[in-house]
């Protein structure tokens, strides 16, 4: 079976700094993988390499067997991406974003309208459908960007921190929505720091540190809870004592 996502010796350097370092892994269709690691581990860069918006320095990434950089429009139609910085047009409303995206992905007018309404309801965005993106809260913006990743019914979803910046109810809604996708054959690869939510839905966990693959495991293979496993592989920072904190100002 062709893996939904595959990397072979994938590296990316910025100047002398190696941000993604020789990653090789493959994920089957219908898997839901949480990519975890501390800040600066290379998670967002890996996502861009998988999405084909950033060229690798070495190696290659493949989506459904197609080169992520050269797959062209055919590849893009199978891919839904929630980028790190969302990428919304400030002069478009939430609804207009979805209507435009639907048309860009080749959906018919009616189909676009139908899916737009459904996504707005599913992600609790109906009340803000006519709000311009630059006036939306961070949570609304995040959910709008997520809806944009979904509207064309992609077979592979690449999501950068889908649970962050959204309220608990919305995080739950996103969680539920993602949890149902593997059963429909959709492959999801997301980065997150939300250990509890990730533990509930992910079928695979991929730990990154300094751009290197520390561990890729199926959910059932973890010896302990996700949090314990995380800190086993990625030790917590030793806190620096700041004796001046809380003392009387001089």
């Amino acid at each position: 079976m062709v893996p939904a996502l595959a990397c072979a010796g994938l590296s990316r350097r910025f100047g002398r700094r190696t941000v993604v370092d020789g990653l090789t892994f493959a994920l089957a269709p219908g898997s839901l993988t949480a990519c975890m690691g501390p800040n600066g581990a290379g998670k967002s860069t890996l996502l861009k390499l998988l999405a084909g918006t950033l060229a690798p320095s070495e190696g290659e990434a493949r989506i459904n067997g197609m080169d992520a950089r050269r797959g062209g429009a055919a590849l893009r139609r199978t891919l839904g991406v929630l980028p790190e910085r969302l990428g919304l047009f400030g002069n478009l409303t939430v609804e207009e974003h979805l209507l435009m995206a639907g048309r860009m992905f080749g959906l018919g007018k009616e189909e676009t309208r139908l899916r737009t309404g459904q996504l707005l309801r599913a992600l609790d965005l109906e009340h803000g459908r006519e709000t311009f993106a630059d006036r939306c809260s961070m949570g609304m913006r995040k959910k709008t960007a997520l809806a944009l990743a979904l509207i064309h019914n992609p077979s592979v979803l690449l999501l950068d921190e889908p649970f962050e910046s959204v309220d608990p109810a919305s995080a739950r809604a996103v969680h539920d929505l993602l949890a149902g996708l593997p059963g429909r054959g959709v492959t999801v690869f997301f980065t997150s720091h939300a250990l509890t939510l990730s533990e509930r839905i992910a079928t695979h966990f991929l730990f990154l540190d300094h751009g290197r693959l520390v561990r890729l495991a199926q959910a059932g293979e973890l010896e302990a809870s996700l949090e314990e496993t995380y800190f086993d592989h990625l030790p917590p920072l030793s806190p620096e004592d700041l004796p001046w904190l809380g003392s009387s100002p001089s």
């Binding site: 861009k48 999405a51 084909g52 918006t53 950033l54 060229a55 950089r69 062209g72 429009a73 055919a74 893009r76 139609r77 891919l79 991406v81 980028p83 790190e84 910085r85 969302l86 990428g87 919304l88 047009f89 002069n91 478009l92 207009e96 435009m100 995206a101 048309r103 860009m104 992905f105 080749g106 959906l107 944009l148």
Partner: protein, 425 residues
């Protein structure tokens, strides 16, 4: 096709949706065009008269007659001043020229009408930055001095004295051909008779005059149609601000490459050609709408009439709008960063606009520059727009400039598609 349409519609919506920017984009060219149109229009008042300071050091009947004749000229505004103030007025730009009539002019000038002697010297002080006006003053001075001097010969006392002196002079000249001497005596006798007979009573001061009346006909769309200076100025300012719109589109694209919007667009199923074509068409559509707004204001507020082909004007406007879209994309393709690119492209645009004749008509340029500017696209657009508005030319006159503009847009689009850094490195 859906993606292309969605991207173009987004650009148009963004352009129309930003009301404040839209109003500024529309008002700026209209206000500047109104100012320049007023400046270059003939208002039939003193505003377009040439101010000439005059210093009469002669105070003779002839000098007074000369200055009186100049004062009646519709093209001149004559202001008598003292000698010291005349030069200062020209130096400060308050007058285009100053004329100094020297003492003795009244005696010497008639004497030199028929024979060569020591001629009086009229001094004309001119502003070197207003050479065209100085030339006009020289011409009018020649006309009025001939009228005044001949009038003095025919009817004035100094003219009579001059005729007697001249007759004596030819008698003292032995080398003069006898036959010519005889005819000159006859001429002087006749003029003396005219001067003293009283036949010119009531026509004092009347001398030779320009032997024709000049009928000036403005060659516009048709006989009787008045030239409207706003037609050119609105087109000129429209062209300028539309090119600025092109710069905004190009620089905006460079800025976008730095933002997450670029990542968003790169994840959409839109190829390089579709994306770039959408940018060109989006900017072109916005530019066309802006041109329509500017011409609507020109017609509705400033009375400009499309006296040529309306379709021709639409065709040229569409061609220039497309040129602008491609121009913006070339800027984005060749520019390295938004900040430097904006400065450089503004300079290039201002050169194109100035040399195209948008600020001042190109006939003001030196002849070689007039020829050189024939290769500048703004010149094609402006000449064609002039042709379709006040010159009243037909569609055929719009075809070549529109074709050239379309061709340029095509070449620039190809350059942009080849050069634009679409892929992230």
């Amino acid at each position: 096709m859906n993606a292309l349409r969605a991207l173009v519609l987004h650009d148009i919506k963004a352009f129309l949706g930003n009301r404040r920017a839209l109003i500024v984009n529309l008002l700026c060219p209209i206000l500047l065009g109104a100012f320049m149109g007023y400046f270059f229009s003939d208002h039939g008042d003193n505003g377009s008269r040439i101010t000439v300071m005059v210093v009469d050091e002669d105070q003779s009947a002839l000098s007074r007659r000369l200055l009186e004749g100049m004062g009646k000229d519709k093209a001149l505004e004559v202001r008598p001043v003292e000698a010291a103030k005349a030069m200062e007025a020209v130096r400060r730009g308050k007058a285009s020229a100053a004329l100094i009539v020297p003492a003795g002019f009244g005696d010497a000038a008639p004497r030199n009408l028929f024979q060569q002697g020591v001629r009086p010297v009229l001094t004309l002080l001119v502003d070197p930055s207003r050479t065209t006006e100085a030339s006009l003053v020289r011409g009018l001075l020649a006309q009025h001095s001939m009228e005044a001097v001949s009038g003095e010969v025919f009817t004035g006392p100094s003219g009579l004295k001059m005729l007697k002196d001249s007759a004596a002079d030819i008698d003292r000249n032995p080398s003069l051909d006898p036959s010519l001497r005889k005819h000159l005596h006859g001429l002087y006798d006749d003029l003396s008779g005219l001067n003293t007979s009283g036949a010119m009573k009531g026509r004092e001061g009347q001398g030779m005059s320009v032997p024709y009346d000049l009928k000036e006909v403005e060659v516009t769309a048709r006989i009787g149609a008045k030239y409207n200076g706003y037609a050119h100025s609105m087109a000129g300012m429209g062209v300028q601000f539309i090119l600025f719109l092109g710069i905004d589109a190009g620089v905006g694209l460079l800025v976008m490459r730095r933002t997450s919007l670029w990542q968003r667009l790169r994840t959409a199923p839109v190829g390089r050609r579709t994306f770039l074509l959408a940018r060109i068409l989006g900017a072109a559509a916005s530019a066309f709408l802006l041109l329509v707004g500017i011409f609507a204001a020109a017609v509705g507020i400033f009375g400009v009439r499309i006296q040529g082909s309306m379709f021709g004007l639409a065709l040229v406007s569409a061609a220039f709008a497309l040129f602008t879209g491609a121009y913006g994309l070339v800027i984005a393709s060749l520019g390295r960063n938004p900040e430097a690119t904006r400065g450089l492209s503004v300079m290039v645009t201002l050169f194109m606009v100035m040399l195209g004749g948008a600020w001042v008509p190109s006939f003001i340029f030196p002849r070689w520059l007039q020829q050189a500017t024939l290769v500048i696209p703004t010149r094609w657009a402006l000449d064609a727009m002039d042709g379709m508005t006040w010159r009243g030319l037909g569609l055929s006159s719009a075809l070549v400039p529109a074709g050239l503009l379309f061709g340029c847009a095509l070449v620039m689009s190809l350059v942009a598609v080849l050069r634009f850094p679409f892929e992230d490195k």
